[in-house]
């Protein structure tokens, strides 16, 4: 694999909405991979001791990091709904309306993201 060509995943000049959805899917996939590594690292710190784990958690789980949590949810919902669209299309379903499906799935991801952000805000602030 040539790294030069991987940059093509994120080149949008002259591309259609399909490629934009594809680029975002790759991007959010990388974000989720980084989150998974961080998440597993945090859990692994339990082997060192509860204090280490608590110290790690206290740096990230707090009201100031709420926007980052919200963005993580956005990446998760986009990746999930767009992934569902790709699965449907790859089974040969709804191929003819593939562009409309991109808009529908993105809209669903945005609705779920806004609702989850609202719920997180209520949970953290208490109202």
């Amino acid at each position: 694999m040539e790294m030069r060509r991987v940059s093509g995943w994120f080149t949008l000049k002259g591309k259609s909405i399909n490629s934009i959805a594809y680029s975002f899917h790759r991007l959010t996939g990388m974000v989720l991979l980084l989150y998974l590594i961080a998440h597993l690292s945090f859990l692994t710190s339990l082997r060192i001791g509860e204090e280490t784990y608590t110290a790690f958690i206290s740096t990230t789980v707090r009201p100031e990091t709420l926007p980052l949590d919200s963005l993580l949810f956005l990446a998760t919902f986009y990746h999930a709904f767009n992934g569902l669209r790709v699965v449907l299309n790859e089974f040969g379903l709804l191929y003819e309306v593939r562009k409309a499906l991109i808009y529908v799935m993105t809209l669903l991801a945005l609705i779920f993201w806004l609702y989850s952000t609202y719920m997180m805000y209520v949970f953290v602030t208490g109202w």
Binding site: M1, E2, R5, V6, G8, W9, T11, K13, G14, K15, S16, N18, S19, Y22, V86, N89, E90, F91, G92, Y95, R98
Partner: protein
């Protein structure tokens, strides 16, 4: 109607790559290919590009115009704008200026056996192979491919894996698998079911967007994928 346009062409002389600007007056209806011929004949005779039929049939003149692979002979300059960035196709080695080496592209096409395979081939006593209109329509759209390489250039999977067969070759395989006269479906499925075949596609679907003949390679790919899955499951029980 006439107006000045700018052709920014990505050139390659065998050693270095560079952009060169050409300004000239284009007239209404003038195609990108006519613009390239004008540059070659009047401004810079060293410009290299590939073209033949000038009517969207041979598929020789595919280039990237403002980032999108298109047939230069079918693209009118004024439909694109006043500034046109013209580049060679992606995913194929550039030989000179806009001319790419399509050898690998055609080797992949050849690899899927894009011809009728029959057990009763007898060239000394040829016989007519009948087909109903319904049987013809099952593959007709996919037989319109002119092998211009536009889909292959737009495909991100072809960009990252040089051994990937690509959308054009797999569409050709699907076209012959769906032909009622063909008897080589199992053989062909074996060729496209590997990691360099249908499973490498990530459904970017840009191939269908750029196809100048509306062949829908992405659709053929997904149908071939389903066919391949059934073939692989069947092969377990054989």
């Amino acid at each position: 109607m006439e107006r000045e346009v700018l052709f920014r062409i990505r050139r390659f002389d065998g050693e270095k790559e560079y952009w060169q600007d050409f300004r000239f007056t284009a007239r209404k209806g003038m195609t990108v290919l006519e613009g390239l011929y004008f540059i070659k004949e009047s401004l810079d005779g060293s410009l290299a590009f590939r073209a033949s039929c000038r009517m969207g049939v041979c598929g020789s003149c595919a280039v990237k115009v403002n980032g999108k692979p298109r047939l230069a002979c079918e693209t009118q300059i004024f439909d694109v704008g006043d500034v046109l960035e013209i580049e060679p196709l992606d995913n194929m080695p550039v030989l000179k200026d806009l001319v790419v080496d399509m050898d690998g592209f055609f080797r992949k096409h050849e690899a899927v056996k894009p011809y009728l395979i029959r057990k009763d081939d007898d060239y000394k006593n040829p016989k007519e192979l009948l087909q109903t209109p319904k049987e013809l329509h099952a593959y007709y759209d996919f037989s319109l491919c002119i092998k211009c390489g536009a889909c292959y250039s737009a495909c991100p999977a072809s960009a990252t894996r040089s051994d990937y067969l690509g959308p054009a070759a797999i569409t050709a395989a699907y076209r012959f698998c769906m032909d009622s006269r063909d008897e080589g479906k199992e053989e062909r499925l074996g060729l496209v079911s590997g990691s360099d075949g249908v499973w490498r596609c990530h459904f970017n679907a840009e191939c269908s967007e750029v196809c100048p003949k509306s062949v829908e390679p992405a659709k053929a790919m997904q149908k071939m994928r389903l066919m391949s899955a059934i073939h692989m499951i069947k092969s377990i029980f054989r």
